[in-house]
């Protein structure tokens, strides 16, 4: 049995990102799309912490970047869900097909 290395973590990250990408592209419910975006951000964080552990163990730069990604993810979740609730209040739908107000 081969020992766990950088490639294992990076492939896990790629798998998680692909699942999130499929969900974000193919789903109609806006809340599910936001959840899939959170999955993709988590995949990126796994990749950065793995690089930090295996490539620059003493500098921790990847972990610093992961913290900033978490900050942006929290801001994105707050604003995104506020938009969803506002949309529901004004148009009674959270379906991305019916939300075509800005479609040209």
């Amino acid at each position: 049995m081969v020992s766990i290395g950088l490639e294992h973590y990076l492939i896990l990250s790629a798998v998680l990102f692909s699942i999130g990408l499929y969900g974000a592209l193919a789903k109609r419910n806006i809340i599910i799309i936001l959840m899939c975006i959170e999955l993709m951000l988590n995949a990126v964080n796994i990749a950065m912490v793995a690089f930090s552990r295996f490539v620059t163990p003493a500098l921790l730069t990847g972990q610093i970047f992961a913290i900033f990604v978490m900050v942006v993810a929290a801001a994105e979740a707050a604003v995104g869900l506020a938009i969803v609730i506002s949309l529901y209040r004004n148009r009674e739908t959270i379906d991305s097909i019916k939300t075509d107000l800005m479609k040209w």
Binding site: I4, E7, H8, L12, V15, L25, I46, A74, L81
Partner: protein, 162 residues
């Protein structure tokens, strides 16, 4: 050896929970699967000896973002049942699969500059030095604070009753 076993178990939990988020019909159950996925990612951080990030992951994602998502699901519950797919389901699946294939091919065929130095433990003091110390990330940290303030104000303005 113990880290290897933990990695494979957490790996299986993460992939299964992520597939459940995409595949489950019930939105609330999908949100619960998302919380399980966040918890397993915190475990992955522990296997990477990133103890501070594991704690932050549980505090922010499991404690904060999950509550926001469940709150939004509860507030919009009576409009839509299930989580249907749109017309682009098959192309989206193909795109995700092609992306995964290209990424895996590139990852396996790249020679990474692996360092053999042992990781810093515990990481909290080292991260604080990097963030706040001389020549560190103090300006991005301040900008992150301003971004969070702007996001909170924006969320309040968006959901305020007119």
């Amino acid at each position: 050896m113990g880290v290897d076993i933990a990695f494979w178990i957490l790996d299986a939990i993460i992939v299964a929970a992520a597939v459940a988020v995409v595949a489950l019909r019930n939105i609330f159950r999908a949100a619960l699967a998302l919380i399980l996925c966040f918890l397993a990612v915190a475990g992955i951080y522990v296997t990477l000896s990133a103890d501070f990030l594991a704690a932050v992951q549980i505090l922010i994602y499991v404690g904060g973002i999950s509550v926001l998502i469940i709150l939004a699901i509860m507030l919009t519950r009576d409009v839509q049942q299930g989580s249907p797919s749109n017309k682009l389901r098959v192309p989206a699946f193909l795109i995700a699969l092609i992306f995964l294939g290209i990424m895996t091919y590139a990852l396996i065929n790249t020679v990474w500059p692996i360092s053999t130095a042992s990781p810093v433990e515990p990481t909290t003091a080292a991260i604080a030095n990097q963030l706040l110390g001389q020549g560190g990330y103090i300006l991005p940290l301040e900008i992150a604070g301003v971004l969070l303030l702007a996001a909170i104000l924006g969320a309040i303005v968006l959901v305020r009753e007119k």
